[in-house]
């Protein structure tokens, strides 16, 4: 069933729950991994993901296909994750303090992180990117999203995205070269 058909089903009387379940089953994993790469911790991701689906449920009747359904959901997930991080940073550090430090601590204490030292270094390198670079890098590199779709999610021009991604890759490579000279 196409996304459009799910939306049409959602608008039919008595079919809302069924349509929503289809949507959850289709997108729960993709959205989970998108959020997880932003906040890193599993419990936080789980909580944010549920909030995201509540917002999707609340907003679905107003959804008018001005964007693709999945980019619309990605946007909600991205905003929720970023808001969560900012709020967590404020609670932990007050107004000073960096999200990078917060995420480094999260990564170290996460029991569901099974990466080897190389993977750890890559994650650390990603954490040293700016927030926008990190988002773009994750969506492009790990989620294999097209620039068009990322542009829809982040509401950024494609030219800017390409330049940001290029800079992010360069920055990561430089970071890894310092951490691992054999790279």
């Amino acid at each position: 069933m196409e996304d459009k058909e799910i939306i049409e089903l959602f608008h039919l009387k008595g079919e809302k729950e069924k349509a929503f379940r289809l949507l959850v089953n289709r997108y729960k994993e993709r959205l989970y991994w998108h959020i997880r790469k932003i906040v890193l911790n599993h419990e936080d991701t789980d909580d944010i993901l549920q909030n995201v689906f509540v917002k999707i449920w609340q907003g679905l009747s107003e959804f008018r296909y001005e964007a693709k359904l999945f980019t619309w959901m990605y946007r909600i997930a991205t905003n929720e994750a970023i808001n969560f991080l900012n709020e967590k940073k404020r609670k932990v550090f007050g107004n000073s303090g960096e999200i990078t430090t917060l995420l480094e601590n999260t990564l170290e204490s996460d029991v569901y992180f099974n990466g080897d030292s190389i993977q750890q270094e890559l994650q650390r390198a990603i954490l040293h990117l700016s927030e926008r670079q990190r988002l773009i890098f994750n969506m492009k590199y790990f989620d294999d999203m097209s620039y068009e779709d990322i542009a829809e999610v982040l509401e950024v021009a494609i030219g800017t995205l390409k330049a940001t991604y290029h800079n992010a890759v360069k920055k990561i490579e430089e970071y890894l070269k310092i951490a691992d000279p054999s790279f």
Binding site: R21, Y32, N51
Partner: protein, 129 residues
């Protein structure tokens, strides 16, 4: 970038608890149901304080409409009288203005007018300066 890809891509270093994704749909549905109930309650909570205010307003409206009409009427009458007085004064002033237009007194007439309207001290003061 190729070196980069061969080393890092396709490896997901993160994991989830066992059966997490199998149970996730059910948990999300429960959360949505809770949020629906919460939003109903929050609408009631939002309206609650205003119910009291509306009741007070209606009561006040009832008092104004039912008990105070006589007081309101008399004040209206007073107002009308005041308005009339003002209009009369204005008309009077206009008449006076029309009369004054052709009035051209001589020096003696002015002196006579001043001696009736002004007392001796004021005249003495006027002579000094």
């Amino acid at each position: 970038m190729e070196n980069f890809d061969s080393k890092y891509k396709m490896k997901n270093p993160f994991s989830v608890p066992e059966n997490y994704f199998d149970e996730l749909t059910g948990r999300i549905e429960k959360r949505v149901i809770v949020s629906k109930q919460r939003s109903k309650v929050s609408v009631v909570n939002l309206v609650k304080p205003y119910i009291g205010l509306v009741a007070i307003f209606l009561l006040a409206l009832l008092v104004v409409q039912g008990i105070l009409p006589h007081v309101t009427d008399s004040s209206k009458m007073l107002m009308k009288e005041g308005e009339q007085t003002m209009v009369t004064t204005m008309e009077y002033d206009e008449e006076k203005l029309e009369f004054n237009v052709g009035f051209n007194p001589t020096g003696e007439e002015i002196w006579e007018y001043l001696s009736t309207e002004v007392d001796d001290y004021e005249l003495l003061y006027a002579d000094l300066f």
